[in-house]
């Protein structure tokens, strides 16, 4: 599904965020990525989501080498991923419904009834059917993150990337969000969650046996070993 081979990311200021990282996430797998702030978690997620190019190494998605693909081909791959951020990245002037519909509009391959059906299904799944006409600022942090998750899954992605998805919500909402990510994983979506929340990691990796990858000084290792 996702394979990184010898990935190095060196920024213009000389900082090395990732140093010869090898990583693999199989189809339908759920994994955690952890490490202190600045350890390179976000850089790794940005490289997988093709928001950044690595300085060295190869990125393979579904077996295809996408390391140096042309910029015009990136959207085609990104439409097969859902991305969730700590700060939700919702459009403040659009309603919940419009925010969730965005990936379908962008794809341009859905009829309007199909878009509405999918958006309602996604909102129902995250429990926000009653909030579809509201704006993000009218929702709590947990609800906003659920909108972001609905948006990430509405186009049925193969991969869901979550960068500190519980970082801005209360513990109860965090459990709900993790529960949702697990549910989407159960229907076949590969999920990679980047977090530095040790409690969350302990609970989920121990209870469900999810692999945990740790980044330290740009190097990746299996935290369970």
């Amino acid at each position: 599904m996702v394979e990184l081979q010898g990935i190095t990311k060196r920024y213009e200021d000389g900082h090395v965020a990732l140093d010869n990282v090898d990583f693999r996430l199989r189809s339908g797998e759920f994994a955690f990525l952890t490490g202190r702030s600045g350890a390179g978690k976000t850089s790794l997620l940005r490289i997988i989501s093709l928001l950044e190019r690595p300085s060295a190494g190869r990125v393979l998605l579904g077996g295809d080498d996408v390391t140096r693909i042309a910029a015009r081909n990136v959207p085609r791959w990104r439409r097969q991923m859902g991305i969730v951020f700590q700060d939700f990245k919702l459009l403040p002037k659009q309603t919940v419904f419009e925010n969730v519909m965005l990936p379908l509009q962008v794809a341009g391959t859905y009829t309007r009834p199909e878009m509405h059906r999918r958006v309602r299904a996604a909102l129902d799944k995250v429990g926000l059917t009653d909030h579809e006409t509201e704006y993000p600022h009218e929702l709590s942090g947990g609800e906003q993150q659920r909108v972001a998750i609905a948006r990430a899954v509405v186009s049925r992605p193969a991969l869901l990337l979550a960068d500190e998805p519980t970082g801005s919500v209360d513990p109860e909402s965090a459990r709900e969000i993790m529960g949702l990510l697990q549910q989407f994983n159960r229907v076949g979506v590969a999920v990679l969650v980047a977090t530095h929340d040790s409690q969350l990691l302990d609970m989920y990796s121990r209870q469900f046996g999810y692999p945990v990858w740790e980044l330290e000084h740009g190097a990746l290792s299996d935290a369970r070993q």
Partner: protein, 336 residues
């Protein structure tokens, strides 16, 4: 919130169907019919077209300032068009100087004169054709030249038949007039052909100079509008940078993200040109009552004319294109 995949409502049948699927993987993009894709594409264009005005409202101060600047620039050009248009009406009688006079040989038989007149009327280059008989010419001479006494001493009328012809507008160029003169000189029974070629050349040069000036001004205006719109769009792009990033994250192409800004530029151009057209017409309207008697004192019947649709349409097209170009230059270069 649903906690169990088996407890979806009917509305979530789409996702429930996924529960039975095996692990998903990357692959070829979802196929959709050309019709569906085209509808999606057109829908986005339509929504961007409509939303373009709304986006201007996000920073109304800059939008109004930009429209005013474009309007002022275009008003200069449209003002020049109005001057040319009204000057053309004022100087219309001067265009009679393009007329060509044909003098026939003395004692040309009447039937030859009639045949020649038919021939002239069949020529596509000629507009007005007036036959001046010797008697009419003599009477005119007596009236205008104060030569009545001298003429009354003549035993016979020495003047020949003549034709005064006016080429159609599109045949009034200096070269065309010259070749027309040669053609007319070669006609049977024609003794002499006179035309004020020097004046024709001067008139044509003047007209060409005005057109060049308008063209140069139009090019300058396009550049100014492009620059102006580019500045406004640059601000809009900065204000909505986060929104653009979200669009990219969910798989938008650059063209998709850029499109609203292009329509925004287009709207700026359109609004600016409408403002300019209205302002010039309003100015003409306000001075019309004072100007009309003055113009009529030079050429009876001439009135100050307002700008019509024929000047609005090119102005709209030009400024809309310039606005689009300005937006394109920014939205393409700055990864809007």
């Amino acid at each position: 919130m649903s906690a169990d995949l088996g407890q979806f409502t009917d509305a979530t049948a789409t996702i429930r169907a996924d529960a039975g699927r095996s692990q998903r993987s990357f692959g070829a993009p979802q196929s959709a019919s050309v019709g569906v894709r085209l509808r999606g594409y057109l829908r986005h264009h339509l929504s961007c077209f409509a939303a373009g005005i709304g986006r201007l409202g996000n920073s109304p101060g800059h939008a109004i300032g930009s429209c005013l600047a474009i309007g002022l620039m275009l008003a200069v050009a449209l003002g020049l068009v109005a001057i040319v248009q009204n000057a053309r009406n004022l100087f219309a009688p001067l265009s009679q100087l393009s007329q060509i006079s044909l003098y026939l040989k003395s004692e040309t038989p009447a039937e030859n004169v009639a045949q020649l007149e038919q021939r002239l009327r069949a020529m596509p280059e000629l507009g007005q054709i007036e036959h001046v008989t010797p008697d009419a010419a003599l009477a005119e001479l007596k009236r205008n030249a104060d030569l009545e006494k001298a003429i009354s001493t003549l035993a016979t009328n020495p003047l020949p038949h003549a034709f005064v012809v006016l080429p159609k507008m599109e045949y009034r160029g200096a070269e065309q007039t010259k070749s027309l003169r040669d053609v007319l000189s070669a006609l049977p029974d024609v003794e002499a052909v006179t035309v004020d070629l020097e004046w024709v050349t001067r008139w044509q040069t003047g007209i060409a100079w005005v057109y060049r000036l308008v063209g140069f001004l139009a090019a300058l205006l396009v550049a100014a509008i492009v620059f102006n719109v580019a500045n406004t769009i640059r601000l809009a792009v900065e204000l909505r940078r986060d929104e653009a990033q979200v669009h990219y994250l969910v798989g938008a192409t650059r063209a998709y993200v850029r499109r609203p800004y292009l329509y925004m530029g287009l709207w700026l151009g359109v609004l600016g040109s409408l403002l300019a057209w209205w302002a010039v017409n309003m100015a003409l309207y306000l001075v019309r009552d004072e100007m009309n008697p003055l113009l009529a004192s030079y050429v009876p019947g001439v009135q100050l004319q307002l700008l019509g649709w024929e000047s609005l349409v090119p102005a709209l097209l030009l400024s809309a294109f310039a606005g689009w170009l300005g937006a394109f230059s920014v939205a393409t270069g700055r990864r809007a």
